[in-house]
C-alpha cells in the first residue's frame, strides 16, 4: 500500500468567447497586431469606467449550471490590487467573497468507478495583457506590452481538494473542458490560452485526515504539462518528507524543458491583494427567471449524452465515452447515424479511420472535409456491396483529401465491386490453375493457403471482386 496520499485541487481559468470584452466594446478576437483590440476603457485611461457585458454574466451562469453550481442571487465585483505592467489599472476586476456561483461538482471516471469532484466556486474576472520581450526576460533591454487580451472575460473555476492523483487531475480537466465546450461559452483551447490551469498539491501520510502543506504550481499549459508537473511534484514532496524535511508553502512554476518545478515565491512574499468591492460597478442582482431561462437553453451535456449512446444506440461504454468527449464529435456521430443506422459501424469508422486521419493532419472534426452524410453514404455503398471494405478505406482517404462524395470517387475510379459470379469464376479458375501448390496445401487442410488464393483473385481484379463470392467460389472449386 502507498505510504502517502496525494491531494490536488485545480484552479482553472477559461476565456469566454463573447464578441466583446467584459467591461467595454473592444473585440475579444484572438491575435491581431499588438494593441489594436483596445479602447480607453480596457486601457484604464483616467476617468474611464467599466460597464459589465451582460453576455459575460450569461455565459458564466451557463457554465456554472452545467457544472451543477448554485447561482448567487446577489453577487459583486471586487478589485484585486497588485502592480504589474500587463495590468492597465494595476488592479484586476475580479470577484472575491460573493462569486456568481458556488457548490458545484462534476463526475470523473477512475479505475475504481465514477468519482464526484466538488467545485468550490466559479467567478468572473478580466484577463490581463501580456509582456513581450526581446530574447528572454533576464537579458532583454526592455519590455513591450500588448493589451489586446486585457479585459477579455474569464471565468475561474476552483475545485475542492478532491483529486488524489495526477491522473485524476487530468480526467477532471478533460471533463471540465468537455462540459464547458458543450455549453458553447468557450473554445477551451489550451494552446491559445483560452484554458489555463494552476494546481494546488500536497501529500500526506496515508490514512491522515490533516492536509499537508501545499505548493501552488503555475504555468501548466497542456494536459501533458499538468500530468508531468504533478507527477514530478508528488515525487519531490514525498522525497523531501522521507528525508526528514518539510514542504514550504510556496508558488512554483513548471519548467517544461527541464521537466521540473521551480520555486517562484514563498508565502512570506505572497501578495496582499487588498480586495475591496469595486465602487465603479453596482452589485449584480441575478433574477431567478433568467437563470431558469439559461438552464432550459443548456444542451445535453457529456454524461447524459454518453448514457443515451449506450441506451439508444447500444454502443459499448468505451465508444460512448470517446464519441461524447467533444460536442463536435458527438454531433458528427449523430448526424451520421441519422442517415445510416448502424451506430457501431459509424462509431468504428469515427474512432478508427477518421480519428487517425484527423490526428495525422492535426485537424478539428469541424474542419473535416468529409461531412457526416458523406461518411454515411460511403458506409451504405459498402453495405449494399457496391464496394468492398478494403476499397472503402481507399475511397475514405480520397474523400478526406478532396471532400468528394464516395459515389463520385467510386465511379470516377471504376471501383465498383465485381459481384458477377461468371466473371469472378473465370478469374478463380485461372488462379487455381496457376497455383497448384497452394491448391494441394488447402486440400491437405492448410486453411491459410486459401487466404493467399483470395489475395491472388483480388489482385487480378484490382481489389474489386466481392470477397465473399471469391471465398465461396474458391472453396467450391477446390
Amino acid at each position: 500500500m502507498a505510504r502517502y496520499e496525494t491531494v490536488i485541487g485545480l484552479e482553472v481559468h477559461i476565456e469566454l468567447k463573447t464578441r466583446s470584452k467584459i467591461f467595454c466594446d473592444s473585440t475579444t478576437e484572438f491575435g491581431g497586431d499588438p494593441n489594436t483590440h483596445i479602447c480607453p476603457v480596457c486601457l484604464g485611461l483616467p476617468g474611464t469606467l467599466p460597464v459589465v457585458n451582460k453576455k459575460v454574466v450569461e455565459y458564466a451562469i451557463r457554465a456554472a449550471l452545467a457544472l451543477n453550481c448554485q447561482i448567487a442571487g446577489f453577487s459583486k465585483f471586487d478589485r484585486k490590487n497588485y502592480y504589474y505592467p500587463d495590468m492597465p489599472k494595476n488592479y484586476q476586476i475580479s470577484q472575491y467573497d460573493l462569486p456568481i456561483a458556488e457548490h458545484g461538482y462534476l463526475d470523473i471516471d477512475t479505475g475504481g468507478g465514477v468519482k464526484r469532484i466538488g467545485i468550490t466556486r466559479l467567478h468572473m474576472e478580466e484577463d490581463t495583457g501580456k509582456l513581450v520581450h526581446q530574447g528572454t526576460i533576464t537579458t532583454t533591454p526592455f519590455s513591450l506590452v500588448d493589451y489586446n487580451r486585457a479585459g477579455v472575460p474569464l471565468i475561474e473555476i476552483v475545485s475542492e481538494p478532491d483529486l488524489r492523483s495526477p491522473e485524476e487531475a487530468c480526467s477532471y480537466m478533460e471533463k471540465l473542458k468537455a462540459i464547458v465546450q458543450y455549453t458553447g461559452v468557450s473554445d477551451c483551447k489550451m494552446e491559445e490560452g483560452s484554458l489555463r490551469c494552476d494546481a494546488n498539491i500536497s501529500v500526506r501520510p496515508a490514512g491522515s485526515s490533516k492536509l499537508g502543506t501545499k505548493a501552488e504550481i503555475k504555468n501548466l499549459n497542456s494536459f501533458r504539462a499538468l500530468q508531468r508537473a504533478l507527477s514530478y511534484e508528488v515525487e519531490r514532496q514525498i522525497e523531501a518528507l522521507e528525508e526528514g524535511g518539510r514542504i514550504v508553502q510556496e508558488t512554483r512554476t513548471w519548467d517544461e524543458g527541464k521537466g521540473v518545478t521551480l520555486s517562484m515565491r514563498s508565502k512570506e512574499h505572497a501578495h496582499d491583494y487588498r480586495y475591496f468591492p469595486d465602487p465603479d460597478l453596482v452589485p449584480l442582482v441575478i433574477e431567478k427567471e433568467w437563470v431558469e431561462d439559461i438552464r432550459r437553453s443548456l444542451p445535453e451535456l457529456p454524461d447524459a449524452r454518453r448514457r443515451r449512446y449506450v441506451m439508444e444506440y447500444g454502443l459499448p461504454g468505451y465508444d460512448a465515452a470517446v464519441l461524447t468527449s467533444t460536442r463536435e464529435m458527438a454531433d458528427y456521430f449523430e448526424d451520421c447515424v441519422a442517415s445510416y443506422s448502424n451506430p457501431k459501424a459509424v462509431s468504428n469508422w469515427i474512432m478508427g479511420d477518421l480519428a487517425r486521419l484527423l490526428n495525422a493532419n492535426n485537424q478539428e472534426i469541424t474542419a473535416c472535409r468529409i461531412k457526416p452524410r458523406q461518411l454515411a453514404s460511403l458506409l451504405e455503398l459498402m453495405e449494399k456491396g457496391t464496394i468492398s471494405g478494403k476499397i472503402a478505406k481507399t475511397v475514405f482517404e480520397e474523400m478526406f483529401a478532396s471532400g468528394k462524395d464516395a459515389g463520385v470517387i467510386v465511379k470516377e475510379k471504376g471501383l465498383v465491386q465485381i459481384s458477377d459470379e461468371g466473371a469472378i469464376a473465370a478469374v478463380v479458375a485461372e488462379v487455381i490453375a496457376s497455383n497448384p501448390k497452394s491448391v494441394e496445401d488447402i486440400r491437405a487442410g492448410k486453411e491459410k493457403a486459401l487466404g493467399f488464393l483470395v489475395g491472388q483473385v483480388m489482385k487480378a481484379t484490382r481489389g474489386k471482386a466481392n470477397p465473399e463470392l471469391v471465398n465461396r467460389l474458391l472453396k467450391e472449386r477446390i
Binding site: P40, L45, G47, R274
Partner: protein, 485 residues
C-alpha cells in the same frame, strides 16, 4: 454693462435679443481673464481660439433665426479633472501634466451639445484631494474677495473663475465638499447633486463612491439651467442612476411656506466661528419669516463622518491612483533600473505629498489584517450616517447648516497641519457619505468674506434645494455682490 458680471439667463436674453453676440460675450470674458487672472490664478489652461470659433457658430445660428438653447454661447469653465478630448487634462498633478485624453467626459459632451462654450480648464487640488487648491502641483488659486486667502477646494479654480467674472458658469467635482466649500468661500452658488444623478464618465477618479460632478453659478436660476444639461442616466457609468431628470427650472419658486426645515445641532455646535454662526441663524430667521417651519434636530453619528471619510476615500483613491505608473501615459521617471524602480520613481516624483499621504492611508486601511477594523468598519458607520439622514428626512423636507466652520483662511495657514485642513470639510462630508444632494448659497459676509448656507435634501430631491435656495435668493441680495479685483 460689464458682460462678465451677468448671469447666464440674463446673457441668454441679451443674445436672443441680439443686443450682444456670443463672440462679444466670450471676448469680454477672455478680456476679463487677461486683466484679473494674474491675481486669481483660476485657470490651468485657456482655450481662446476654439472658444471663439464655437461662439461664431452660435452667432450664426442666432443670425439665421434658429432657436438657441439656454446656455448656448455662454462661457463655461471646466475643472481640470474632467477629460476633454484633445485638450490637456492634468487633474492638478505633475504625473498627468502632459496627458491629452482621446475622449471627453460625458458632462463635457453634454455641455458641448447644449452650445455652452468651454473657455478653459481650472485649477484644483491634485486629484481633487484638498480644501484650498494649495495642493495643486502647479500653483495656488487665490480668493477673488481677498487674494491673500484660499478660494477653498478642491474645485477652487472653478469657484474663483465664476466669482471673478472669468467664466459665467463652471463645473466642479465634490467628494467631501469640493464644490460647496469653494462656493461658500467665493460667494457663488454651488451644487453637489445626488450621487448617480450626473455621469462620472471622464471624471478622473479620486474616490469613486463619493465623487460627483456639479455646477458653480452666480445664481440659483443658472444652477437649475446647468443641472438641466448635466443630470441624467449615462450607459457609460454603471453607477449613474436610471432616472428621467426633471426640468429643474420648474422648482424656481419663490415660496417656502410650510416647508419643514431641520437644523442638525451637531453642525451648529462649537467650532463654528461666531460670525458664521450668526449669519446662519440670520438666514434661518429669514426662511422662518418667509413661512418655513424651522427647528433643531439631530444627526447623532456626525462626529464619525470625518474619520469614516478618511478611511473610505483614501482606500478607493489608493486603488484608483494605482494606474499612474509611467507605463502607458503621463509622467515616466528617467533612468530606472527595472520596472519596479520605474514605478517607484515615477510615483514618487509625480505625486505631491497630500496624494501620497492618502494613498498610504488607503493602502493601510485595505491591508490584510486591518481591513475589518478600518475599511469594513467605515462602511458600517457610513450606513449609520445614511440612516441618520433617512430618519431626519422622514420629518424634514430639508436640512440646513453652515458649509464651513469659518470663512476663507489665509494661504499657507493650514498647509502644515493636515488635520486642521481636513476639519474644513466637517460640515460637508456627511452629504457625500449619504449620497444626498447638497448645495451652498451665499448668505452674507463676515469681515468682507462670503459665507455659504448649506442646504441638504433627500436623494434626487434637488428640486427642494433649488426652491428653498431660490426663495432665499429672491429675498436677499448677497449673490449680487461682486469682488473688487
Amino acid at each position: 454693462m460689464q458682460l462678465f458680471r451677468q448671469t447666464a439667463h440674463e446673457l441668454h436674453s441679451l443674445l436672443i435679443n441680439k443686443e450682444i453676440s456670443a463672440v462679444e460675450l466670450n471676448e469680454a470674458v477672455f478680456d476679463r481673464i487677461a486683466s484679473v487672472e494674474e491675481k486669481v490664478g483660476a485657470y490651468l489652461s485657456r482655450i481662446r481660439e476654439r472658444a471663439l470659433e464655437r461662439a461664431r457658430v452660435i452667432d450664426e445660428q442666432i443670425r439665421k433665426g434658429e432657436k438657441i438653447l439656454p446656455l448656448s454661447g455662454i462661457p463655461v469653465a471646466i475643472k481640470d479633472n474632467m477629460c476633454t478630448d484633445g485638450i490637456t487634462t492634468t487633474a492638478g498633478s505633475k504625473i498627468l501634466a502632459n496627458f491629452v485624453p482621446p475622449y471627453s467626459a460625458t458632462v463635457v459632451k453634454k455641455l458641448d451639445a447644449a452650445g455652452a462654450v468651454m473657455v478653459g480648464k481650472t485649477n484644483l487640488d491634485e486629484f481633487a484631494m484638498g480644501s484650498s487648491t494649495e495642493n495643486s502641483a502647479f500653483f495656488t488659486t487665490r480668493n477673488p474677495w481677498d487674494t491673500s486667502r484660499v478660494p477653498g477646494g478642491s474645485s477652487g479654480g472653478s469657484a474663483a473663475a465664476v466669482a471673478a467674472g472669468e467664466a459665467v458658469c463652471s463645473l466642479g467635482s465634490d467628494t467631501g465638499g469640493s464644490i460647496r466649500l469653494p462656493a461658500s468661500f467665493c460667494g457663488v452658488v454651488g451644487m453637489k447633486p445626488t450621487y448617480g444623478a450626473v455621469s462620472r464618465f471622464g471624471l478622473i477618479a479620486y474616490a469613486s463612491s463619493l465623487d460627483q460632478i456639479g455646477p458653480f453659478t452666480r445664481d440659483v436660476t443658472d444652477c437649475a439651467l446647468m443641472l438641466n444639461i448635466i443630470c441624467g442616466h449615462d450607459p457609460l457609468d454603471s453607477t449613474s442612476a436610471d432616472f428621467q431628470a426633471p426640468d429643474y427650472t420648474q422648482f424656481l419658486i419663490n415660496d417656502v411656506r410650510g416647508m419643514k426645515i431641520g437644523v442638525p445641532e451637531e453642525y451648529m455646535a462649537e467650532g463654528i466661528a461666531p460670525e458664521v454662526h450668526g449669519l446662519i441663524r440670520k438666514a434661518l430667521e429669514l426662511l422662518e419669516s418667509l413661512g418655513a417651519n424651522v427647528e433643531y434636530t439631530t444627526l447623532p453619528h456626525t462626529e464619525y463622518a470625518l474619520p469614516t471619510y478618511y478611511l473610505i476615500a483614501p482606500a478607493e483613491a489608493s486603488s484608483n491612483l494605482a494606474r499612474y505608473d509611467g507605463v502607458r501615459y503621463g509622467l515616466r521617471a528617467e533612468d530606472s533600473e527595472d520596472i519596479i524602480d520605474m514605478f517607484m520613481k515615477t510615483r514618487s516624483q509625480g505625486f505631491g505629498s497630500e496624494v501620497k499621504r492618502r494613498i498610504m492611508l488607503g493602502t493601510y486601511a485595505l491591508s490584510a489584517g486591518y481591513y475589518d477594523a478600518y475599511y469594513l468598519k467605515a462602511l458600517k458607520v457610513r450606513t449609520l450616517i445614511k440612516e441618520d439622514f433617512d430618519r431626519a428626512f422622514e420629518k424634514y423636507d430639508l436640512l440646513v447648516s453652515p458649509v464651513s466652520p469659518t470663512t476663507a483662511f489665509r494661504i499657507g495657514e493650514k498647509t502644515d497641519d493636515p488635520l486642521q485642513m481636513y476639519l474644513s470639510d466637517v460640515c460637508t462630508i456627511s452629504v457625500n457619505l449619504a449620497g444626498i444632494p447638497g448645495m451652498s448659497v451665499p448668505c452674507g459676509f463676515a469681515g468682507g468674506l462670503p459665507v455659504g448656507l448649506q442646504l441638504m435634501g433627500r436623494h434626487f430631491n434637488e428640486g427642494t434645494l433649488l426652491r428653498a435656495a431660490y426663495t432665499f435668493e429672491q429675498n436677499t441680495s448677497y449673490h449680487k455682490e461682486f469682488p473688487a479685483l
